[in-house]
């Protein structure tokens, strides 16, 4: 036997990280399916299938009365405005929070960095829907609560992204201004911010795209827009109306996706 006839490596080796990882994932998946009381039998029963079929059949017949179309149009505009205003407010708030959260040069003490980052994490890890549910108590039902909820969550997301791009901006121009004794505000305006602005804009547009989806569903808890209309009609089992609202939602999401994709391509 020559040395070139080596046995293949053993399939399992206690030091093989990937094996353990695969094993852990398998255990997680099996445990998940085992512990959830998934009622497949109920779901696949003849009765449920019939109901599902009827439901889908009704969904295929959207109602197109002028009164409903007008309501859906209003709700679509409301959703659009909620997402746009929410994202705008988030961009302003996010930038305001990103400035103390970024250490832009080596001698920057950045005293508030830790505290601001903690605040940003808090804002970010609470989902929009939870913010909306909390804000409904303060400002009542309606799109205002939804707008604020979007703004708060997105401010957390954007603030962190903004802080990172401020920290990663090429330091040259800022340094050149700083050694001549230019003040921090002007260094920010004419060097750092001027360099990263396209990136910040593209992040903001990307989040807007996400927020339009979020704004469409926020209404489910009563925060206005298409979601509220959807929850209302679905609650009354008016499937034709529900289908119209769903179609409006799909169209809106597709439109904003295309728009944002085009804008980001133009910016890049």
């Amino acid at each position: 036997m020559s040395a070139s006839h080596q046995l293949p490596p053993p399939l399992f080796d206690a030091r093989c990280k990937a094996c353990w990882l695969t094993f852990a994932v398998l255990v997680l998946v099996v445990a998940s399916f085992a512990t959830l009381d998934l009622q497949w039998a109920k779901f696949a029963s003849w009765d449920a299938l019939q109901r599902m079929g009827r439901f889908m059949g009704e969904l295929l017949h959207p109602v197109t009365t002028p009164a409903l179309l007008h309501k859906v149009w209003q709700a679509t505009l409301e959703t659009l405005a909620m997402s746009a205003l929410g994202t705008l407010m988030a961009a302003v708030l996010g930038l305001a929070l990103a400035l103390p959260a970024a250490r832009t040069h080596a001698h920057d003490a950045a005293r508030w960095r830790g505290a601001t980052r903690l605040l940003l994490n808090g804002l970010r890890s609470t989902p929009e829907l939870v913010w909306a549910a909390l804000l409904l108590i303060a400002v009542g039902l309606g799109p205002f609560a939804g707008t604020l909820a979007l703004a708060l969550h997105t401010a957390g997301v954007l603030g962190r992204l903004f802080a990172e791009s401020l920290e990663n901006a090429p330091p040259g121009p800022a340094f050149a201004l700083r050694v001549r004794g230019v003040g921090e505000l002007r260094v920010l305006l004419y060097a750092t911010l001027a360099q990263v602005l396209p990136q910040l804009l593209s992040y903001t547009l990307y989040r807007w795209e996400n927020n339009i989806r979020a704004a469409a569903v926020l209404g489910v808890v009563g925060a206005g827009g298409l979601g509220q209309l959807l929850a209302f009609h679905m609650g009354l089992f008016q499937m034709g109306e529900t289908s119209t609202v769903l179609l409006a939602m799909l169209a809106l999401v597709a439109l904003v996706d295309a728009l944002s994709y085009g804008l980001r391509k133009a910016l890049a």
Binding site: T147, L230, M234
Partner: protein, 288 residues
Amino acid sequence: MSHATVTSVPAAAATPTNAPLRDPAWRTRLFWALAGLALLWPMGDLTEFKPWLLAEPGALAPALHFVGSFFPPRTDADFLTLLLQETWRTVAMATAGLTLALLLAIPLSLLSVRVLSLSSLAGRMAVGPGVLRQGVRWLLLVLRSVPELVWALVFVRVVGLGPTSGVLAIALTYSGMLGKVYADILESGDTHATHSLMRNGSGRLQAFFYGLLPQNAAELTSYTVYRWECAIRSSAVLGFVGAGGLGQLMDSSMKMFNGSEVASILLVFMLLVWLADRMSAALRKNLA
């Protein structure tokens, strides 16, 4: 951008010192600022943007009172056990949903990848396969365009409350996202190895397993792990429409204005999201 405002006129061409220092682009700036304001106005109107409502004496008091009741968070053993159960249910819903999503996404992305087309090796792709691939792409688009919360609402109507609706909702939406991104990843890389295999007579699945998959495995896994993290977030939220888990617990506590329970749930939720975030970041770093 305002580069124009900082660059001064070159010294050689400088006119006498009293040249006006004004912004050459002020007209466009003013126009866009006004156009922005004109757009903002109807938006504020549509969203009933009335921040002064917050300043009214009666408005903020109940909310502040509610937030005040957050402290101390409820930490007795009964509630913590319940919380632990619901947390596990949230994770399990996300994992089961993502597993089902993979079962749907992998075949669909294989069907839609253009690199694995035999007819396109010789030039243009044949009509039939081209139509099929575009059709599958549209199916993926529809699947991911409907938010998971809407799917969950639909399924809750059909099968009733419970985690089944949540799992199915995650499975459908995420299969659309995963399928599309998988196809994009597979198409974006170097296709040379795959095409050589196919030109030399290997089947499409063979070319996938020996050419395309090894090249892109790390990126595919990393994206899947990232989506698992997102699925945990959405499964927590799906509870709000009755799919079980942390969201449902929070919804019921919130409806009873039980601040200390809401605070505990929020804290656990943040911890869960943070843990998932850390885990997925560490895994992705190892894969990169």
